[in-house]
Subunit: 345 residues, 2 copies
DNA sequence: AACCGGGGGTGAAACGATTTAACACCGGTG
DNA sequence: CACCGGTGTTAAATCGTTTCACCCCCGGTT
């Protein structure tokens, strides 16, 4: 029982042909004001709503874009999604949200669904680095933009943030503040963002001319709060503790921070903490968290713009790889110098 | 250039009629195994993907449901969305996510879009209590389920949590722990959840036979961390501070907690804090937060099930108002008794 | 008077699937 | 041999739009 009133009913009511109604809807300027008003009136009275399925069937241009993320629960993706939703809805597109939960199967199922929906394009953070899902989409002639996943493939648009630079920023900062035993808490190797951030961290050590042993990597199974807590417990149990912890994302950092604070460790005097992403909770933590900020909403907006542009003018479209620069936001969790100064005042 | 291979191409390739291909796709049991395999083969070779628009046009049954939330940035809605997404995708439905950002205009625009898409049904947390948007949807013959917004309207399904009971739980707990000057930090009156929670809090005071002055309400403009921080600053500036703060949601509570802790106030010895929602960050706060838990994913799942059920059997469907019971999760931020005991041990 | 051009409409043919009535074929039965 | 019921397949109608070729009317040019 879904709105049984069609364009034909409107036409009858307004005593015009269906073609004219369609014109009123899509190119109002070509129809005489008098008839236009009559048609509009009929639409109003009947409560007519365009059927997008029929529309799309004939015109071939869909009005939705797909968004496949690794984890809707992660504030990072939430903010990206918000950006996507904003520009999509400005362009009159709906956003179909899919959550792959880092599972290749779920990703595949969603991708199939999106293909059937003939979406305008797909923004995806792929689960696997082999991009199988992405290839399948492209094979079906769909525009794809990679989200937060750089690639060399010149046949693809991608929007990402320079993770290597971000890692370098963080560790350079820690070294400059005088920290000398840094542990990086990182996710599983599979996650390339983490790998990049670690490489950046190593770069920082090298560029500072320090012994590479000032930096150690501690891997945890997932990038969430619970993993951070467990990592912190491990660190506490050690005989010689690090004096700084750099976490691959803020969720980890919040977990670490909580456990350390509750164990009586002073942050940043005893141990500094730096996170990554600068989610809203970072600034509101017990000790405001230094973090590497990524322009999350901007990532979403840019990706949405790219995919819309690509499908508007598929022929002349040039694939772009947009790489945003991360930014270090220094807060109290790593400000050894300033704290010291304040204390001596 | 979106997958130009249609069911007709498959038919030609497999040397059958289009009807047979359709049968293979939808009722495989009626077609002979031999032909079935032949058709499947052709589908595979050609990389055929069903065109959902055409499908829906003829069959009339859409494969997407709409979800309109107040704020995708709020972890509460994120978790609800996850629940929706889960059951929807199990049922083979796509979820179209819309963010109204508490704006009536955005809500209206999204609702129109969903109507054009002829979605299966819409799950919505309405911006306005007058439910104008909801009525528009229903007028167009669409199933609507109200999310986290109770209603008396018997023509509607609704899934919500008993906010009044939640407020009562929180304050009863605080009173039982011996707190006697409670401030409830609440959002603007417009937000009914907050109103209900406050009424519940008042109930608790009355039922405990206390003077109603043990509870005071402090209103803030928004339910986010920043508002919580500002509220805490106000409280700190007072000559007589409350000994407990009950916040209308966890974001507020985290803001309050952070400011208090940084000002040297001991939680829960000097001031107890109770939040609402029990988002993941609540447990990971500097002092783990006592909070009223709502079954967020379950809310999403239930709502999705309802809307799918309603559209499957529209005739015999009986509208339901599901009201979940909230649950108090006691953590350290309000455990005066236990802390005292621990200290004397 | 014939012709032209163009604004304002009309009507029918797509679009790609589903659905249904009809049909061809089969061995078995009366 | 005619008839039957069942099975597998076909062809055509249908869904609601958009698009496109064409028509009509009317004033202005030759």
């Amino acid at each position: 029982m879904v709105s049984p009133v069609s364009i034909r009913d409107v036409a009858t009511r307004a005593k015009v042909s269906v073609g004219t109604v369609s014109n009123v809807l899509n190119r109002p300027e070509v129809v005489a004001p008098a008839t236009r008003d009559r048609v509009m009136g009929a639409i109003e009275e009947l409560g007519f709503v365009r059927n997008d399925a029929a529309r799309q069937l004939r015109s071939g241009t869909p009005r939705a874009i797909g968004l496949v993320v690794l984890d809707v629960g992660n504030p990072f993706f939430t903010d990206v999604a918000r950006g996507v939703e904003d520009t999509a809805s400005e362009a009159g597109h709906a956003v179909i949200l899919c959550n792959s939960d880092e599972s290749t199967q779920r990703e595949a199922r969603h991708v199939d669904l999106l293909a059937e929906q003939r979406v305008h394009g797909v923004l995806i953070t792929p689960v696997d680095a082999d991009l199988a899902a992405v290839r399948r989409l492209r094979d079906r002639g769909m525009s794809v933009v990679l989200l937060d996943h750089p690639t060399d493939d010149p046949g693809l648009c991608a929007v990402a943030v320079d993770d290597r630079a971000g890692g370098e920023l963080a560790v350079t900062h820690l070294l400059a503040e005088g920290y000398e035993r840094i542990v990086m808490v990182n996710g599983p190797t599979r996650i390339h963002q983490g790998r990049q951030r670690h490489e950046g961290a190593v770069d920082a050590v090298r560029k500072a001319g320090r012994d590479e042993r000032v930096l150690e990597e501690l891997k945890v199974p997932a990038l969430n709060v619970a993993s951070g807590q467990r990592a912190a417990e491990q660190l506490l149990a050690r005989s010689t503790r690090p004096d700084a912890v750099f976490c691959a994302n803020d969720l980890l950092a919040l977990g670490v921070l909580q456990v350390l604070v509750r164990a009586g460790v002073r942050v940043p005097e005893d141990v500094a903490i730096v996170g990554y992403d600068d989610i809203d909770f970072a600034a509101a933590a017990a000790v405001p968290l230094t973090s590497v900020r990524q322009p999350r909403q901007l990532i979403g907006r840019t990706a949405a713009e790219l995919v819309i542009a690509e499908t508007m003018t598929p022929s002349e479209h040039v694939h772009k790889h947009v790489l945003f620069a991360p930014e270090l936001v220094v807060r109290e969790s790593s400000r050894r110098v300033q704290r010291a100064r304040r204390r001596t005042r």
